[in-house]
């Protein structure tokens, strides 16, 4: 695989890729006018709500703010162990 990457120069961690990743995150926040830290608060609160109904697999919850065309989508992923009631 390394030989393959070397031969075909698969870009990762390059300046262009870094710029694109930073841009994506920045623009999603810009477009939503989302203040720094706000999303983290929401994630904590959402996790607490879900945790009232389900036992969650520890340290597996994932939140991801994605760009879909010019709109943003919040993708939340909870791994559920069992229902609480």
């Amino acid at each position: 695989m390394q030989v393959f990457n070397w031969l075909f120069k698969v870009p990762s961690g390059t300046a262009a890729v870094t710029a694109k990743d930073r841009m994506r995150t920045m623009l999603v926040h810009d477009r939503l006018e989302l203040p720094a830290g706000r999303l983290e608060v929401l994630e904590e609160e959402l996790t607490a709500v879900v945790a009232r109904y389900f036992d969650l697999e520890p340290d597996t919850t994932r939140f991801d703010l994605q760009q879909m065309d010019r709109q943003a989508a919040l993708i939340a992923n909870f791994r559920l162990v069992r229902s609480k009631c």
């Binding site: 075909f8 870009p11 694109k20 841009m23 623009l27 477009r31």
Partner: protein, 270 residues
Amino acid sequence: MSGRVIVITSGKGGVGKTTASANIGVALANTGASVCLVDMDIGLRNLDILMGLENRVVYNLVDVVEERCKLRQALVKDKKMPNLNLLPAAQTRDKTAVNAEQMKKLCEELKSMFDFVLVDSPAGIESGFENACAGAEEAIVITTPEMSAVRDADRIIGLLEARKDEITQYRLVLNRIRPKMVANSDMMGVEDVLEILSIKLLGAVPEDEEIIISTNKGEPVAGTDNTKSGLAFRNIARRLRGEEVPFMDMDAKSDTWVTRIVNFFNPVRV
């Protein structure tokens, strides 16, 4: 006649708005269309320099709006093409010298005289930008592949979206692309920027020293043959006229022995 009013805008300064305006104007006029370039950067007049017309400016846009002269008296004809005209900005006033209503009225009048009215917007998102957009039905967003320019372009796109009722179409011109840096993945390429901004492409213009030379001469590159940037601007003009023109192939091609062999047998198209 009812022409098209197109505002050329970017948010960030220094990405090539005025250069693009001059060149798209020249290229459109070359196709036979009648064109009026409107310099809306009031107080920071530059379009006349790029066109090599700075010595012919008598009246300006503010003189027209404040009725010190007739519109026709303020229009400066291009040296080579009589179907290309410039309405210069005032150099001594500021952005508050005109308002949106006056701009709308002016665009209406220009529309009845020309096939294309290209409005060169000032940088920023304040009143100067608002006024430049006031009479427009279409927009061209200019950016370079730099992060700060792309961010500002995104802001402008947001503002154009908010004017959807008036500005029905907007497309991107990606300026100053350095194909080698893109190929080495040192810089974002056309595809990257389009994906980030979710916008349609009108044209991609490579970085070209000829632009500096042509600015110094006061003869936009679009009017001369044999320059890559001039060809890019001529393609943009043809696309504006509704022609399907394939995009220049400038995007990332990995530089390996395999691609070198392939490229050896398939010389890179420009």
